[in-house]
Symmetry: C2
Subunit: 431 residues, 2 copies
Amino acid sequence: MTIELDFTHDPKATSWVESANGHPDFPVQNLPFGCFSKDGKNPWGCVAIGDFVLDLRKLADTLDVGDTRKILHYAAQSTLNGLFRIPGGASKLRQRLFELLTDEAHRALVEPCLVPMAEVHMHLPFDIHDYTDFYTGIHHATNIGKLFRPDNPLLPNYKYVPIGYHGRSSSIRVSGVPVKRPSGQTMAPDADEPSFGPSKRLDYELEMAIWVGQGNELGEPIPIGEASSHIAGISILNDWSARDLQAWEYQPLGPFLAKNFHSTVSPWVVTMDALAPFRVAQPPRPEGDPAPLPYLLDADDQAHGALDVQMEVYISTAKMREAGDAPHKLSSGPMTAMYWTMAQLVAHHAVGGCNLQPGDLLGTGTLTSGEEGGEGSLIELSKGGKQPITLPNGETRTFLEDGDEVIMTAFAEKDGFARIGLGECRAVIVG
Amino acid sequence: MTIELDFTHDPKATSWVESANGHPDFPVQNLPFGCFSKDGKNPWGCVAIGDFVLDLRKLADTLDVGDTRKILHYAAQSTLNGLFRIPGGASKLRQRLFELLTDEAHRALVEPCLVPMAEVHMHLPFDIHDYTDFYTGIHHATNIGKLFRPDNPLLPNYKYVPIGYHGRSSSIRVSGVPVKRPSGQTMAPDADEPSFGPSKRLDYELEMAIWVGQGNELGEPIPIGEASSHIAGISILNDWSARDLQAWEYQPLGPFLAKNFHSTVSPWVVTMDALAPFRVAQPPRPEGDPAPLPYLLDADDQAHGALDVQMEVYISTAKMREAGDAPHKLSSGPMTAMYWTMAQLVAHHAVGGCNLQPGDLLGTGTLTSGEEGGEGSLIELSKGGKQPITLPNGETRTFLEDGDEVIMTAFAEKDGFARIGLGECRAVIVG
């Protein structure tokens, strides 16, 4: 696998959509796919370009796009599952759209297909059949492990097995949908019996979402060398967690109600094509860590399998919004905090024969950088809820309160290339 | 909630489909729904009646069924999700079909819609979006707990929380599809490092499948008193498990590859209507066990929330089949081994706001009776693989070998009512 760059990565390329040029998220070099609607109800496919979405259904009706006609038909459906089922389909379409949006000659025909982003509703990009959440953030796993198992923070399997569990797909919502605080059982440290009520330790988790493109048949594993070709792209994921419910329920079968009340994902699928300039080597494992088993080890994947993407998480409390204060940055860190590559997650998931399908969502798990200011959750920032953090307006938080909005962003930035943004993953807590 | 019996439960009722009368599984009092095809590819809805399936698409095209016309239209789709989305739809249709199949006057029109069961392929009844596996078999949980945690078999949360986890829906297959032995990481007791290879401790799990009918909106829990009305019906579930993979991977987030390579479900959705005569009181909890928390406690549910259904599991090895030997019964037990009622599982699942959807599958977890001969898995029968069991032909087993077929059946039987069968859940292991 060599990472091939093409004309779509040319940093000098500009679009006749002027807001795209120098846009922090959506220059013409990005062209992430999503699903939008004007009525909030009936979505279909689009790409983001500057301050607009390009309506792919209207484009399909407007233009003879030659050899991408069939691909465009799939992209215009109500979800992107069909588009990413076609081998190479999204790549080809992205290249064609790049041509249409950079060449002034196409402007007259294409411009009527633009809709201001401010006027549209974004929907989930895929019909997500299965959602798997991994646990690749080794610093997060260590921090959480210390809280739940002080004597045994990182279990012996962690450095061999890409630990993951099946999540709930029905409760995944797109950025912007409010999150209702869940109720459930909790066991107070000094209590004889559990009690029932709203979670008092509601938290966010800063993750990245990896979308499966091409799937595999049941019983047919995906070799590590082919795994990255099964990835459609990435988004930002907030895997909301009720820590008090989690502590009481999670043994022995893992988190359940603590996580299944809601997960929030950003609307744009930023393709692996758009991110090609930002592929980097997987950071070397610390001295003494075991090498991955052969089914997880591929030289090319080690050389190019990580992504140089930066993530940030902000909070905006109700009081801050009333006062007109800007959101406050809680932490930031790199996606390279993953102990396993994306391809290793795919290969591991399928190695026993489990079939992946287009639109399956793989969460990276909370990514904590391991440095001060790089904590991916409040439970880490507040040391298990023992040390409240203080916001600029004097408010304090150990966990989330009603009215708090959590805003995550992510981007890739590098000299010699256009900055590629992932947009926002945000939601407000309601009681 | 009083359990109302109606004309469809009359044990004296007979059908003009003669094979249905006295049929051990599919008398006219049952009429379970399923999805069949003639080509193995394009299924649609049917019900089982004796040795036949009644083709609901053809019936819809043939007959003016009056007020059930719209319901029949949904039942004729490629999955049953639409049918069970209609409040009361399946109940009404079952009553109408009962009339058509008992009254000789309808025979001439309806008979052409029958297809011999031996000539059809059965498919999954639902598009299963989310699959949750519970752990309600307290005897199983105790037996397994002893193997994984000798000092701490039943964790403190077990009697308060209906323990469950999210499973993999993509790898659920209907009865009859061969199961490929999974490979994965295992850690030998005396090893320094894990090794990779085919599972050596492949096991079945005897469970019942509970199908969700009506769903709920995200953020809107289902009260315990309404929970049973959200259940469409039940089937038999074999949640195949690779015990060696499970032991190494399951901490701290639960089973993953050990369970997601394949699950097998029987094709027929036996409705709660058909099972109404077999609803019984939830067995009282052992002295000293805590009462369920209020959100899980409903007097009617305690009085009628359990099902008097018997389950059986058989093995048929390749040698047995070659010799023409009948399958050998490994164990049997009652569905009342559930520590929680079906309604309690539904109410718990949704109490934090998680939305259930039509066609979601809830597994009961392995049901072990607590008596000799009632073990729901091989790991229990073979005492953790330490005491091989001997089959009638002299073969021994600790875990499943390639060529072994596991066959599960279940039925409800009671004086004064027709016996209601669930059919079979079977699959053979291939290497």
